[in-house]
């Protein structure tokens, strides 16, 4: 099978939210720090997301990256039932873990936080927003290995296990300064007919630079 096309890209880091849906917003101009607050989604995309403010930090960043990529526009509805979702993370849910662990000594446990102590929960938040019902894979990867998500997505397509794949890595540390890094891409086999916005990088280590270059 030939290399998949990269049909959409969304990037979120400590400076900006950028995507092939034409989004380019600086956190400085939004008046908030990553990963944003209850007003961020509307400020960037001009529409609301009712539960955004209740999400953990990894989910917020991933949801922003998905919207910046324009998944709702680019991904045909007929394909979503068979679109896989692969997320890689190094830090995982450390922020939620710390919050929940802190509540172990408190009078009231932070029950709403507990589901977010699993890294696969952010994958679910993205899946339900875009109706992605393909296979889900959440990878826990060593620092710098986020491109494993891209490789796993390509494997799923090559094996015929999905019609398309949304692949991403996401990591957020809310230490000061906030360290926030997410890259999301929609991979599609050439036969699906989606327009490529970036070439599949020959060197997986260069995924990040290839995506950034495609977003201008």
């Amino acid at each position: 099978m030939s290399a998949p096309a990269i049909a959409a890209i969304g990037l979120v880091d400590r400076e900006r939210i950028v995507g092939t849906a034409g989004v380019d917003k600086a956190w400085r101009d939004l008046g908030s720090a990553p990963p944003g607050n209850g007003r961020t989604f509307r400020a960037v995309f001009g529409r609301g997301d009712e539960t955004f403010r209740r999400l953990d930090v990894a989910s917020r960043v991933l949801v922003l990256a998905g919207a910046a990529a324009g998944l709702d526009v680019v991904l045909p509805a007929a394909v979503r039932d068979d679109t896989a979702l692969v997320v890689a993370t190094t830090v995982g849910c450390l922020d939620a873990d710390r919050q929940f662990a802190h509540s172990l000594g408190a009078e009231m446990l932070a029950a709403p936080v507990f589901p977010y102590t699993l890294p696969s929960t952010c994958l679910g938040e993205l899946a339900l927003r875009h109706g992605l019902r393909g296979a889900g894979v959440c990878l826990s990867v060593a620092p710098g290995d986020g491109a494993q998500a891209f490789a796993e997505g390509a494997r799923l397509l090559a094996a015929g296990e999905a019609a398309a794949a949304v692949v991403a890595w996401v990591d957020v540390l809310r230490d000061d300064p906030v360290n926030c890094d997410a890259a999301l891409a929609l991979l599609a086999p050439p036969g699906l007919g989606l327009r490529a916005v970036a070439a599949w990088p020959a060197d997986p280590a260069r995924v990040r630079s290839a995506l950034r270059a495609a977003c201008g």
């Binding site: 039932d81 896989a84 979702l85 190094t90 830090v91 995982g92 849910c93 450390l94 873990d97 710390r98 929940f100 662990a101 172990l104 446990l109 932070a110 029950a111 507990f114 589901p115 102590t117 699993l118 890294p119 696969s120 929960t121 952010c122 994958l123 679910g124 938040e125 899946a127 339900l128 875009h130 109706g131 992605l132 019902r133 393909g134 296979a135 889900g136 894979v137 959440c138 990878l139 826990s140 990867v141 060593a142 290995d145 494993q148 796993e152 494997r155 799923l156 090559a158 094996a159 015929g160 296990e161």
Partner: protein, 370 residues
């Protein structure tokens, strides 16, 4: 979709609350025993249940328990497989939280499974591809799928899949905070079910591309899906679970009528059991094959569950019988789910379906063929 090239099971290992070794697990499951007992090691934690399935004292060597349990299970699988060369042996680790000692305490573990995967690979001196999966309670089956995918693509000859999770105050309290724990031993699919009983365990499967190394069982197919409706609650009709199972059957080239036995997810929460039944009954056209679950016996071992329960499904194929669903007195789910009430002979024991669900809406299934 053309059937995937099968990958073969060459080795198995387990450490559970029944003790070390897959034989102790299988004997206990088929004898109808439960390791869900009054909490001992975790007794100091203030959580709303009196019970859990804890490792027996002394079963693990000293050291970080998740690593020690994983090593023990892996060694058993490697031994059964005849100690294959490790220089190119790959590893897929499945765990929800791996080691939390640094999140709640002064340890080094930060709840990141990749760290445990690297330590396990170093300890076992494995030189092949290394992957770590954290897909909540579906982790084990997603890991089996990831390994099978690599083997089918010819990326390597053998992959070791290890699922592991250990009991921790963090996890017990978390399930308790969601009102998801049964105060007593759990009763999957029973009218009186009140939630999960947690357990700890490690399971290992050594998978190979070479049929000559097979124990007589193949991972014939795998499939995944997402409910895409809620991150903690299941689809009310069990559509995601049925979709994952249908995809696994399609990849295996197997029709639903060819499935001889089903190993259920069966957590004993009201919603999970009811929707799992609906999804499977729909998939099988109104009546499932004989179906059993084992969480009332092992406890819910989270990231280890998929691998340990795949071992139970393999055991059912090899014994030609399905064990009883322990704790089931008064079934309260779709009656089309054929819940085994007493050990039952399987007229044909060639194909088993194993399913799992996890937070994040993740659904997974594996088809095993003897």
């Amino acid at each position: 979709m053309p059937p995937a090239p099968p990958t073969f099971v060459a080795g198995r290992g387990a450490v559970t609350a029944f003790g070390a070794g897959r034989t102790s697990l299988a004997e206990a499951l088929w004898a109808g025993r439960s390791a869900v007992r009054p909490r001992h090691r975790t007794a100091a934690f203030a959580v709303p249940t009196a019970v859990a399935a804890e490792f027996p004292a002394g079963v693990l060597p000293p050291g970080e328990p998740a690593l020690q349990a994983a090593v023990l299970a892996a060694h058993e699988a490697l031994a059964e497989a005849g100690e294959p060369p490790r220089a190119d042996l790959g590893l897929v680790l499945a765990s929800t939280k791996a080691d939390l000692s640094g999140v709640v305490g002064a340890g080094e573990g930060l709840g990141q499974p990749w760290r445990l995967a690297h330590r396990l690979a170093r300890t076992l001196e494995l030189g092949g591809p290394l992957l770590s999966v954290s897909c909540a309670c579906a982790s084990g089956l997603v890991a089996v799928a990831a390994a099978a995918r690599r083997l089918a693509a010819g990326e390597c000859d053998r992959m070791l899949v290890v699922g592991v999770d250990v009991l921790h105050e963090f996890v017990l309290a978390g399930f308790g905070s969601l009102n998801a724990l049964d105060p007593a031993a759990c009763r999957p699919f029973d009218r009186a079910r009140r939630g999960v009983s947690l357990g700890e365990g490690a399971g290992a499967l050594l998978l190979t591309r070479h049929s000559g190394e097979s124990l007589g069982v193949a991972v014939a197919g795998h499939g995944g899906a997402n409910d895409a409706c809620h991150v903690t609650g299941p689809d009310r009709a069990g559509r995601g679970l049925a979709l994952a199972a249908a995809r696994a059957l399609a990849l295996a080239g197997v029709a639903p009528a060819d499935v001889d036995v089903v190993h259920l997810h069966g957590t004993a929460t009201q919603a999970n059991d009811a929707t799992e039944a609906l999804g499977l009954v729909g998939l099988f056209g109104g009546r499932t094959p004989p179906s059993f679950g084992t969480k009332a016996q092992t406890g819910h071992t989270l990231g280890a569950a998929g691998v340990l329960e795949a071992l139970a499904a393999i055991e059912a194929l090899q014994r030609g019988t399905a064990p009883a669903n322990v704790g089931l007195d008064d079934p309260d789910v779709d009656p089309g789910l054929d819940l085994v009430r007493a050990e039952r002979h399987l007229p044909r024991a060639r194909c088993a379906l194993k399913v799992a669900s996890g937070f994040g809406g993740i659904q997974a299934a594996v088809v095993l063929r003897a």
